[in-house]
């Protein structure tokens, strides 16, 4: 298995820059997510790692070897696509054996290897069945077995669960993660689904318009977003932005919103002009003692929790709280925020204002 180092990787298609100069490292054995909306350059990045696209410039090191300009066949990787293409005229065993047979491996060894892999994926029972009659889940397991059986240096996966319905996707996501934990194979996984990225990834790279916005562990990206794009893209509902105008010196630790002081972590740079207080929905609390008021537009019941939409002088925000808290539509309520987890943004640049807490967790790409 292998470490993958990406250095200043760049891809242009004519006048269009699909990927701006990007650098990141995928550690050996890591489950690494490339996350972003469609057209952000994540799939192009993955295809360059695979050798299906050649970069315009930059380096790709797999296990220390520079491969950026080498064809896919010389890279020893396995690619899993969104649509699982199995050979329809072969049974399961032949599908799984195929990569080994085409490498010229001896029959006995192939048998042994296929047996091992089919145990890992729980497909021993169906090895002699034709692939045509298999359920979606089994087809997916067979496709994974075929990718794994060769023991490549790394796995590259392009939205492999994208075509499945929600319930089954959740199930396969945890199965895939459990499989990774057993095999510890370096995996780069592309998705546009923030929940999937949070759920499965050791680390996430968030991309937008060909640029890496941020990378880090799921919880760090969630708690310390580097840009308003990341704050908005990750989380459901996304982070709230309470918009205001102010001038704050470096070292400021208080923001005044409509006469109510809100504590923030001391800033390490000044901020001025159009600003936004970024607060996650679960960090908004109803608080009778607060002078900061909002009125309840609607409450959505979700079982354990509810999502309350509120109108405030700084815009509409959403709060997530226990559904045992009574909330009436139209009612005016006091609001306070979990101050240690607030992020301040400059609305013009979209960037987080640096603070002591942000710097203690510097994961900016």
């Amino acid at each position: 298995m292998a470490e993958i180092i990406i250095k200043n990787l760049r891809k242009e298609f004519g006048d269009f820059t699909a990927v701006e100069s990007s650098s990141f490292t995928v550690a050996d054995g890591e489950f690494f997510m490339l996350l972003g909306p469609s057209g952000c350059g994540k799939t192009t990045t993955l295809r360059m790692i695979a050798g299906l696209e050649l970069p315009t410039s930059g380096e790709i090191l797999i296990d220390g070897e520079e491969v950026a300009q080498k064809p896919a066949s010389q890279r020893d990787i396995a690619f899993v696509f969104q649509m699982f293409a199995l050979y329809p005229h072969m049974n399961v065993r032949k599908n799984v054996s195929y990569p080994l047979v085409s490498q010229g491996m001896k029959k006995g060894e192939v048998r042994k290897k296929v047996h091992e892999v089919s145990q890992i994926l729980g497909i021993e029972e169906i090895l002699d069945r034709p692939v045509s009659g298999l359920s979606g889940g089994d087809r997916q397991r067979v496709a994974l077995a075929r990718a794994i059986v060769r023991e490549p240096k790394c796995f590259l996966m392009d939205e492999p669960l994208g075509a499945l319905d929600a319930e089954f996707r959740e199930h396969m996501a945890s199965e895939l993660r459990a499989l990774h934990d057993r095999m510890k194979a370096t995996t780069v996984y592309v998705t546009h689904d923030q929940r999937e990225a949070m759920q499965m990834g050791d680390r996430i790279v968030v991309m937008n318009h060909g640029v890496i916005e941020q990378f880090g562990t799921p919880q760090d990206i969630y708690d310390y977003p580097a840009t308003m794009f990341v704050a908005d893209f990750i989380g459901s509902p996304p982070m709230n932005f309470l918009e205001f105008e102010d001038r704050l010196a470096a070292g400021s630790s208080i923001v005044n919103l409509q006469g109510q002081n809100v504590g923030i972590c001391p800033l390490t740079e000044p901020a001025e002009g159009s600003l936004a207080l970024g607060v996650r929905p679960e960090h908004v609390r109803l608080d009778d003692d607060s002078r900061y008021r909002g009125s309840v537009i609607t409450a959505e019941y979700l079982g354990t929790t509810q999502i309350v939409t509120l109108s405030t002088p700084n815009g509409t925000i959403k709060a997530r709280m226990s559904s045992s808290i009574p909330v009436r539509e139209g009612e005016t309520v006091g609001l306070s925020f979990r101050e240690e987890l607030i992020t301040l943004f400059d609305r013009n640049s979209g960037k987080a204002i640096k603070s002591e807490r942000q710097e203690s967790k510097d994961h900016n790409g």
């Binding site: 949070m198 708690d223 989380g235 929905p281 019941y301 979700l302 079982g303 354990t304 939409t309």
Partner: protein, 331 residues
């Protein structure tokens, strides 16, 4: 608007019974959502009410009148499908005016203009009325499709997963919007979905479908807190309700075979030792995957929990739900 009653509705396709002995009343002005997985009979039920399918047995009453033998046009229902099929050669205005121009309605042009204007206002697409539908985003197209149903004042609106083809953010916005519009119009609305979030956040009442049968009807809170079976319990709630043998913890009532544990039913820090398998950080919540005597249990923990795999967490049930061997609730 009107109330709608279904009495002992059944529909088979060959040997497959899609809808079985279905009895349901949708009150005037109610937002009722049928929730079930693929193949539970949701869409067939809608099509039966619309008159697009003929039932093998049973009858349908709209505003007290027996409509079982009537054609779709006579039933005065408006349907919104999952795939918004708009007329691509017409403007948004023309698309929305189209149903009002049907020969049966003979609506005067002034009324059409007023009605389309009002509806566009509600859906916040007034500035798009002169656009071709091909120039719209997905969310705008779906709003036009909903608008085309709303311009009419039918007895009931029928909606078949109208939000499922939209991306997550837009879906969240339209959920609130649709609920607001329905309340504002006092519309009777029957909506089918497999998405529990849609069902919980929009419905006045949820009807849970299991293999063509309506197994429980109630408010979202009733269905979540007081399910009649393990199947119903599993329809709502994320993480999903855990089902473990009743013998795992003491104190189960007589006849109980399974305990259903939602995160709020699991007290941490006392009881039996469970092994931490994995922590799943989802940002707004952290799911704690435990193993207790060979059984997987998923619950929630502090978002910034410092627990590690192979740590031990003691757990015990707190007011859990009990079920018998066939999955029916024991109270």
């Amino acid at each position: 608007m009107a109330d709608v009653q279904l009495q002992n509705f059944s529909k088979s396709f060959g040997k497959i019974e899609a809808v079985k002995d279905f009895t349901l009343t949708i009150a005037n002005g109610e937002f009722l959502i049928l929730l079930g997985p693929t193949g539970a009979g949701k869409t067939t039920t809608l099509r039966l009410i619309a008159g697009l399918e003929t039932p093998n047995a049973g009858s349908i009453y709209i505003a007290g009148q027996n409509m079982t033998a009537e054609t779709p046009a006579m039933r005065d229902v408006a349907m919104v499908f999952q795939q918004y099929s708009l007329y691509p050669h017409m403007t948004v205005y023309e698309n929305m005016a189209f149903p009002l121009r049907s020969p049966q309605l003979k609506t005067p042009e002034d009324d059409i203009r007023r009605k389309v204007g009002e509806t566009a206002e509600i859906l916040q697409i007034t500035h798009k009325l002169d656009n071709r539908t091909t120039e719209l985003s997905g969310g705008e197209m779906q709003r036009v499709a909903i608008g085309r149903a709303l311009v009419r004042s039918p007895s009931i609106y029928l909606m078949d997963e109208p939000l499922s083809s939209l991306d997550a953010k837009l879906r969240a916005d339209l959920r609130i919007e649709l609920k607001r519009i329905q309340a504002q119009l006092g519309a009777t609305l029957l909506y089918v979905t497999h998405d529990q979030i849609e069902a919980m956040t929009m419905a006045d009442k949820i009807g849970v479908l299991e293999a063509g049968r309506l197994v429980q009807v109630g408010t979202p809170r009733e269905i979540y807190e007081d399910p009649i079976s393990l199947y119903v319990g599993g329809r709502l709630g994320l993480p999903r309700i855990n089902a473990v043998p009743a013998s795992l913890f003491g104190g189960a009532p007589k006849g109980a075979s399974m305990i259903g544990l939602r995160p709020e039913h699991i007290e941490q820090g006392a009881g039996k030792p469970a092994k931490v398998v994995w922590l799943e950080h989802l940002g707004d919540q952290t799911q704690l995957h435990l193993e207790l005597e060979g059984h997987k249990i998923i619950t929630l923990t502090d978002i910034h929990s410092r627990l590690q795999p192979n740590d031990t967490v003691h757990i015990q049930p707190r007011n859990p739900l009990y079920f018998d061997s066939s999955g029916n609730r024991i109270r």
